[in-house]
Amino acid sequence: MPEDTLLDIQDLHLQFKTFDGTAKVLAGVNLSMRRGDVLGLVGETGCGKTMTALSVARLIPMPPGEITRGRVLFNGEDVLLKSDDEMQQFRARHLGMIFQDPVTNLNPLFSIREQLMDAVLYRQEINGRAAARWRGFMPSVRQKRREAFARVVDLMRLVGIPEAERRIHEYPHQFSGGMRQRVLIAMALAGDPDLLIADEPTTALDVTIQAQILRLIRQLVDQLHLTVLLITHNLGVVARTCERVAVMYAGRVVEEAPVAELFRNPQHPYTQGLIKALPGKHTARGELQNIPGTIPNLNDPPPGCRFHPRCAQVMDVCRREVPGMVTIGPDHHVYCHLHSETP
């Protein structure tokens, strides 16, 4: 493992017990991120993008969820082995998360200031506990609040909310969708995280607002040296924002490559299908390519490569064996038997 690896997910398996049986939602996810990476995680609805992110933060509801195999190494430590207390500290210190829907993630009853203050004070509390014990005194509550307030205003400026001192006293409903998303980003940044996980941060937004938010994320990456895991189903968003991209299908990563490389030279049949399904400039009438079939039932997933029932180039081995990782070029990996040396 290279020195500067921040996050390394290895062979992660996650399942949910339901009425219909056991849904094998993640079946061997491999993903690694270096410090400073901006990695896009793409895939269709239900393929497990959110679940992968939630596993890193250990926020999967258990039960019904259960991680049956795998490791999630963060800075070389396995997150899955931490106690709940350690986990809380870990989340506060190292992770920032933004979720898809900015409306439901802000409490309509509290002002933006109160919610941001809470986020900041909570982080201070967790980070301060050790420090305070060391110094042998606790800073006064007033002083803490003053510091927190200054930090909140800084954060609001950082995410580009104009007139921060005034608007901070407003309530979520007085903010537009784009502004709320900025607040959520500010909240995620409250603890100076090493890793920012953004789960579909622009899906609910308009194209022009989406452009603003993506530009903001890029800016923050340069300014704060963040590492970002950007989850989206929009390949265009990835092209605009990320350096590397991982494509997921039905609970597994199927291809991983630098952005330009992936779009120029997709290797997995699923990735190729996805790219062709986008209406491009010169697609003829009625002739959009689509990937035949539908995503598999995760209670009873196809054996071997999970994509094989929909794959035009399916081989015998695909039905039997899970494809391993094949390296195609620098930083370009694909999980497909077509590329194995010994099929």
């Binding site: 609805t45 022009t208 989406q210 452009a211 390949l235 092209a239 209406p279 491009g280 009625g286």
Partner: protein, 326 residues
Amino acid sequence: MTNGSPLLEVRHLKKYFPIRGGFLNRRVGDLKAVDDVSFSVPRGKTLGLVGESGSGKTTAGKCVIRLIEPTAGEIYFDGVDLMTLSDREMRRRRLDMQMIYQSPAASLNGRMTIGQIIAEPLWIHERLRGRQAKERVMELLHVVGLKDEHYYRYPHEFSGGQQQRVGIARALAVNPRLLVLDEPTSALDVSVQAQVLNLLQRLQDEFELTFLFISHDLGVVRHMCDDVALMYMGVIVEVADFETIFEEPKHPYTQALISAIPEIDPAASREEIVLQGELSARQPVQGCPFAPRCPANKLDICETIRPELVEIQEGHQVACHLYPAP
């Protein structure tokens, strides 16, 4: 009613929603969701209505088939002004114009089976039921690429793409001539979107349908539409055929929107114009509604006079002071 006339012609359509507030919830103002919009759709063609959230696309689409009552305007469908029809006449007219909704799951009654859902318009308009109705429903299921066994299932057992197909089958049941498609694929994944778009185009050719295609996704619009109308805060700011819109956009808003399409082809993406600010809920009282966000060099009159939609070329209309009428 010659064949040369457009199937749908909308003139000066307005829809104001009351803004209530203050003491006793009085009407304190109007939200001009659609403010004096005119367009027409030729037979068998597709007009794309594009704009950001809240620009009034859905409202305009629903007004056109009187699903919501317009505040003012004329809507000529095949030469007849729909606004002059009584409720009852309008109900009977509905077999000519149907709508496909943005959220496929929410537009299907979860307590009815697929068979019952598709048979409903057959009963309402033709009093078909029992065996006859079932045969027609089966036919329609096949037309949209579903199978016999789906007849007895409930909507929640289907994927989004299949639910949208059910919606399309229901709309086709009465042989409509106009389909209003309100973001029919925005809830779907790309590969499923491709299936539904292909289906729509096939049906359009087969049944000579006319589409009013509402979307905020310019990539999809480029693929689907013959003409494109861009809406911003309740007004149309630019209309042209799709090639002109994409190759030579004139209005600064159109230019920004097109530059913001997230293209994956590095060759296709152009210099990104990031607009400042956001769509606010209410229009400025006077001047161009886009003026507060306009990145172009603004003229003085932009703040004071609302620009009219003027034809700058054959079939290309723009509402912007930078392009005065020739």
